[in-house]
Amino acid sequence: MKKYCCSFFVLLLFVFSAFGQSMRTVYSGAEVIPIVGSPINDGWVLVQNGKIIDVGGDASNKVWTADTRIIDVKGKVIMPGLVDSHSHIGEVSGADSSGPIQPEIRTLDSINPRAASIQRAQAGGITTANIMPGSGHLDSGQTLYIKLRDDANTIDDLLIFDKDNNYMGGIKFANGTNSLRGSGGFPGTRAKSAALVREKFIKAQEYKAKIENAKGDASKMPARDLAMETLVEVLDGKRVIHHHTHRHDDILTVLRLKKEFGFRLVLQHVSEAWKVADEIAAAKVPASIIMIDSPGGKLETTDIKWENGSALEKAGALVGFHTDDYITDSRLFLRSAGFGVRSGMSRNKALYGMTMANAIMLDMQDRVGSLEKGKDADFIILSGDPLSVYTTVEQTFVDGKKVFDRADPKDYLVAVGGYGAGNDRLIHIDCFDGDIAGGNH
């Protein structure tokens, strides 16, 4: 009987959600900040089947067809879901201490899709994130791009697929002090760090040449090597390097290696970007920066400046923000843009840096990062100006589906904290055989 009830409810839920997704819904009357294009007062966003059908203005005088559900959001602000180009949510882990370069490691195999940290990111308006392993290695493994969808049972429910149907992700590299361990094969100096990486890429070039020379003849193919296969993806430009780097000289070392091996690159953290902004811009390499409340905490970040954003903007580089969660709290990701403007960025570029710039860094500019016809219906409804400390995220939508609602007590708890806020997500269906509640972690 219980099972029967369950299947009935699942069916009901399926019907409802399918109905909800396919129905034309318009969010009407808000200030719409599409990121690509000017802000629209009295604007509207029309969505259906998880996509944006269109965006426009003069909402008050607009007449909608009878099959359109109209949601009145007057007085609110709608902007694209935030894209976090560097996060550690989902209890992610990466390479172990057995070696400094481990390209074969997949964060895919380590993420807890029910982690409270993922819910907190939804509460902060983040809809897409680059989940990175740590920075204690020259290469700590492959990163994973996820959509912060709701009710994920397995990691598969969060994946994003490219046009060849491969799940999307990059690879994490780091230089500077984090990986300087001086034992167990780890480098002891900066020069050694670079030498180890160059050596590995030269091996990958040779591996790639063997594959090309085999011309499809299986007997001439090199033995499968997961690390080499991954680095060949990097050499082929299929996998972007997200490179943790702080000091000006370390930043330039990364640019030098890029020149030598031709890989695609996003600079991450770039604490001293203000010292080498012109070089970064000239290399046409995007920079993903972080806003920290005070300098220091480690030797390489004593010279970090809030002005990194404005310096990069001025130099003409593509600049985005990241949380590096848990370093900064995903629930307050919008602070980053606020501090960008505080220290000289234009309002437009600061908001671009929360959305479109990061979408470009993750090769997702055709799908997310702006409110445009045909893009994924990932958007957030804010109580006011995105750059104000008094503004809160009220609702977050991924693929047209609401994944966070501040008016829902469970979501509210996640957004503000309190007893039980740190628990993993509980499965919402409650007529199920057996114990299905996610426990504490």
Partner: protein, 406 residues
């Protein structure tokens, strides 16, 4: 001729001398008028088009421009918004430095779990970069000292965020004794205290010893008990950092048993215990609003400040202790966030000005813009809490000590 050549080294020396002379001049005899479009005195309603007069390091007059005229000879500074200098009710900067290397991390000594004899003044680096950082963001007074990382980690002190030496900076050399009940104060391996119950037992035993200290006619001095005796005699409060509700209740239980003054610190679970904390009468120095929730602080809520305020509990907001990045938080930003989570603007400002002054026992001297108080002022080009506003100047003891627009 050689002697007359002025190289850059000499030049900078000359500048240094001139600067010092200038500063001394300002310290001794500065007469400054600060005009603010809005002046939040924190002693009455905000003043539109207000004027604050300072002389001899003190506030000599404050009021609307229509009633307070600026005497001749006063240097005039203008700002959109003027507030009292901000007070960080609990930090570790000065003992903890921004390099985060062993030589600049003096906030905890791990050879023994109870060391009330460790004086903060013996470890305070007045020239620490983090101090000038918070000063540039309006912070003029810090309650700093040993970190919440041992059962009794040592003493705390109160300092102005200026001065080249601890003596120049210090207001109160021994303010409180830093005590922690919770996971952060557990001993490593099999070292005591291994549990919170053990922490309570050890703390009680220490207080019992202190009760008896000095009662015999002849006794040898014991620096630890000498300090704990000050707690027993209610000369200074015990600063008890506790996050979980059970640990907060332990702190209150022990305070009642020994009839001592305590200040409740951190208190992530305070939102669950507003009735109990209110009844205890003890003030609260609440964790940083943006503190990471996890471990003992997993139930931290950004609404706690508002809930405590509504319950009528005196509350200050702290920057707290940070082990990594950011190496310190900034109370201006921590108070700002509470406004999005239920606090009124002025209540939030009070947690880092007048209410913070009350909790650290210096409200007669700092925390508001009133005649006779120290001329500690922060100036801004807009709403102090807004992300895109800048702190444009900071004054301490009547002297402008920061003009960085940050």
């Amino acid at each position: 001729m050689k002697n007359l050549i002025i190289n850059s080294k000499n030049l900078s020396f000359i500048f240094a001398v001139l600067l010092t002379a200038n500063c001394l001049l300002v310290t001794v005899s500065a007469q400054v008028a600060i005009k603010g479009e809005t002046v939040y005195t924190m002693a009455g309603k905000p003043i539109k088009n207000g004027v604050v007069l300072t002389a001899g390091g003190k506030i000599t007059n404050v009021g609307p421009a229509s009633t307070v005229s600026i005497p001749s000879g006063f240097k005039v500074i203008e700002a959109k918004v003027v507030t009292p200098g901000l007070i960080d009710a609990h930090t570790v900067i000065g003992l903890a430095g921004y390099l985060n290397q062993p030589h600049d991390q003096m906030q905890v000594e791990r050879s023994s779990p109870m060391q009330p004899d460790l004086r903060a003044i013996d470890a305070y680096n007045a020239r620490e970069e983090l101090i000038s950082w918070v000063r540039s963001l309006g912070v003029t007074t810090i309650h700093t000292g040993h970190a919440p990382l041992a059962l009794i980690s040592g003493q705390t002190m109160i300092a102005k965020t200026v001065g080249d030496s601890v003596d120049e900076a210090t207001l109160v050399p021994t303010a409180m004794i830093a005590t922690t009940i919770g996971n952060a104060a557990r001993g490593a391996g099999s070292k005591a205290p291994g549990t919170t119950a053990k922490q309570a037992a050890m703390l009680r035993q220490m207080l019992i010893k202190a009760q008896n200290y000095g009662k015999k006619k002849e006794f040898s001095r014991d620096l630890k008990l000498e300090m704990m005796k000050k707690i027993i005699d209610r000369e200074i409060p015990l600063l008890v950092t506790a996050h979980r509700s059970r640990d907060i209740m332990t702190a209150i239980r022990i305070a009642k048993e020994f009839n001592i003054k305590i200040v409740l610190d951190g208190v992530s679970d305070a939102h669950l215990l507003t009735k109990e904390i209110k009844e205890s009468g003890f003030p609260v120095i609440l964790h940083a609003t943006m503190m990471r929730a996890g471990g003992d602080s997993e139930s931290a809520s950004m609404e706690s400040a508002a809930k405590l305020k509504r319950a009528g509990i005196p509350v200050a907001i702290q920057s707290g202790y940070e082990g990594y990045v950011p190496k310190t938080r900034v109370v201006l930003f921590e108070a700002a966030v509470t406004v999005a989570y239920g606090m009124s603007f002025e209540d939030a400002l009070a947690t880092i000005t007048i209410d913070a002054a009350k909790v650290i026992g210096l409200d007669k001297r700092i925390g508001s813009i009133e005649v006779g108080k120290d001329a500690d002022i922060a100036m801004y080009d807009g709403d102090p809490f807004e992300y895109s506003t800048h702190c444009t100047g900071t004054m301490i003891n009547g002297m402008v000590v920061s003009t960085v627009v940050r």
